[in-house]
């Protein structure tokens, strides 16, 4: 399937994960050419049937990734797709960030896992914001535009209760290395608009679970945070450096602490109004 600028080919030793992915990714195009291949393989021939265990492989892979039980096949595929992009993608500067847009102007929300960026993006998508992605912001080094990469959102543990009505979901995966996980497909309109980039207008570094606080960031601090948030900044060489310095120079950046989702959404929208 194709997500934004990237086509994936997923192969599996079992039928079930493919069927689950097919349903979760129902609204995405099925291109003939795929940029990256992901394989869900049995760790050994007998583990195809007895306590089936999935190893993620593909064009790019990590030698020490631990296998997952077959019931978590969708998670394995999602991890495989993330891995291909994180290790292979060089056409865009990648930032660990969720992205939402109003019209053709976008907010990048960058943070470590658990900072709440996925939840914020999903909540904003219910309030008229276009969802561009919750995993990677893809910045075109030539134009500075953020290209949508609207993969399904993976919600974990306490945020599972926030899944909006009417959103397409994958199976509930219990007992994964990240706890309980469920994938939620973005609204069909967000998928339909996934070839329309947006210009970054605001950069937020959110942190969930802290008393509300807002602070501006010095350019040097922003730059350091962005280099840490990027998986391919070094690998892109000079083009990566140029994309990052332009982003830092042109887009205001703030650090936002928020105690809960409602407060977070309200703070983001207030920042947007004040731009």
């Amino acid at each position: 399937m194709r997500v934004g600028p990237v086509g994936f080919r997923i192969g599996s030793d079992w039928h079930a994960p493919i069927a689950a992915l097919d349903a979760l990714y129902r609204d995405y195009p099925r291109p003939e050419f795929a940029d990256y291949s992901v394989r869900l393989e049995a760790v050994s021939p007998w583990r195809r049937r007895v306590r089936p265990s999935v190893r993620v492989a593909g064009d790019y892979w990590l030698p020490d990734a631990s296998p997952l039980p077959l019931a978590q096949g969708v998670l394995a595929a999602e991890m495989g797709m993330n891995l291909q992009v994180a290790l292979g993608h060089r056409r865009h500067l990648l930032l660990h960030a969720a992205v939402v847009a109003r019209g053709d102007r976008a907010i990048l929300m960058s943070g470590v896992s658990g900072a709440g960026k996925s939840t914020l993006a999903l909540m904003l998508s219910q309030r008229g914001w276009r969802f561009l992605g919750d995993e990677f912001a893809m910045i075109d080094p030539d134009t500075g535009l953020a290209h949508p990469f609207p993969r399904p959102v993976s919600l974990k543990n306490e945020s599972l209760s926030l899944i909006p009505k009417g959103y397409r979901t994958g199976p509930l995966l219990t007992g994964t290395p990240k706890g309980d996980v469920r994938n939620v497909a973005p609204p069909a309109a967000a998928i339909a608009a996934m070839d329309e980039p947006a210009r970054p207008a605001l950069l937020i570094f959110p942190r969930f679970g802290f008393p509300s606080a807002l602070s501006g960031l010095a350019p040097t601090e922003t730059f350091m945070r962005l280099t840490q948030a990027s998986t391919n900044y070094v690998a892109m060489g000079e083009a990566g450096f140029r994309a990052l310095t332009r982003l830092r120079a042109q887009v205001p950046a703030v650090a936002l602490d928020y105690p809960d989702g409602e407060a977070g959404v309200a703070a983001v929208e207030a920042l947007w109004e004040a731009l």
Partner: protein, 338 residues
């Protein structure tokens, strides 16, 4: 046609790219990445009219190759700086040498470790200088360390503490346990000096080394890339003096086979006597092309034979038995305690 055959055909004749359908491109790209030939393919196909998605993926491979080149040259620069007290040029090998010398073989090539060659009497001093300059021994056990120092053609690998890049310091191009004994002194004496305290092997030695690496010292995994090195070296600078040089190093049979294979696969310009494959050559070719359309290795039996062969050619049988026995006992002890 299988994807790996298509890959070889495209490297040989880029004009065929127009006839490939998008779904097959997905397979070709997966195989090219598995063989670390994606960058080479991208350079070969530059400028041709291809489907949009394929152009993007190949552009990506070129970005990767440019970065590999930059990183390799910088690492060579750092190694040369650290080894300046030796007052001997650092002779670069393989990929780093190709890009440092500006050769076609380096275009688009993936480059991993920094492989260098130095006279054996300088190795102890070189190791000390590298460690002083921030390179570290990888965690290894006393048997591996001793094995390297006694029998291998290189120091135990050193990794730079900050950059994470590995340097392999060789004193010759084959393990001491292998039957052929290349003339290390000749390799060093005839090396061509570059700027910055660096040098590269002379043209014929580069080909001999590539053939030795491909056929006398490995499992043939990644063989298509190593064979492409040989093809590109010959196409750029010919093969005058190669036969005599191979004979001098005791590597005639490896070089002969490499020439037959590179002609058969890539259409390299070689005299008639290297234009026919033997039965055994065909097995090698089969082994080198053993990948399916997902980039996975196929033909497990052939791979196992190739693995056993790779050990047999590296050391005499009694030594191999002792080596594998020690390795097996250690693996067993490790799994028992883990």
């Amino acid at each position: 046609m299988s994807a790996v055959r298509t890959l070889v055909a495209l490297l040989r004749d880029p004009e065929r790219a127009g006839a490939i359908d998008p779904a097959h491109w997905t397979e070709v790209l997966a195989v090219a990445r598995a063989e670390t030939l994606a960058g080479t393919l991208a350079y070969r196909l530059a400028g041709l009219a291809l489907p949009g998605g394929v152009v993007g993926a190949l552009a990506e491979a070129r970005i990767d190759a440019a970065e590999a080149r930059r990183t390799a040259l910088w690492e060579a620069n750092r190694v040369a700086l650290a080894l300046r007290p030796l007052e001997h040029p650092v002779i670069l090998l393989k990929g780093t040498a190709f890009v440092a010398a500006g050769l076609a073989a380096g275009q688009g090539r993936g480059i991993g470790d920094c492989d260098i060659l130095l006279p054996r009497p300088l190795l102890d001093h070189a190791e000390k200088l590298l460690v002083d300059a921030g390179w570290e021994w990888m965690k290894s056990d006393p048997y591996d360390d001793l094995y390297y120092r006694q029998w291998m053609h290189e120091l135990p690998p050193l990794v730079h503490g900050e950059r994470g890049r590995m340097v392999d310091v060789h004193h010759t191009i084959l393990p001491l346990t292998a039957r052929p004994t290349p003339d290390a002194q000749a390799l060093i004496d005839d090396a061509e000096v570059l700027d910055g305290g660096l040098a590269v092997l002379c043209h014929t030695d580069m080909i001999v080394h590539a053939a030795a690496h491909l056929l006398a010292d490995g499992e043939l995994a990644g063989g298509l890339r190593n064979l492409w090195d040989i093809h590109a070296l010959i196409e750029e600078k010919g093969m005058v003096g190669l036969e005599a040089r191979a004979a001098h190093h005791g590597l005639s049979s490896a070089v002969d086979r490499a020439l037959r294979l590179t002609h058969a696969l890539y259409g390299t310009t070689v005299p008639a006597r290297w234009q026919r494959l033997t039965m055994i050559d065909r097995l090698y070719r089969c082994r080198m092309m053993a990948r399916d359309g997902w980039g996975r290795e196929r033909y497990k039996a052939l791979r196992t034979v190739s693995y056993i062969r790779s050990h047999l050619i590296r050391m005499p049988l009694p030594m191999l038995i002792r080596h594998l026995w020690i390795k097996w006992r250690k693996a067993k002890a490790a799994s028992g305690s883990g």
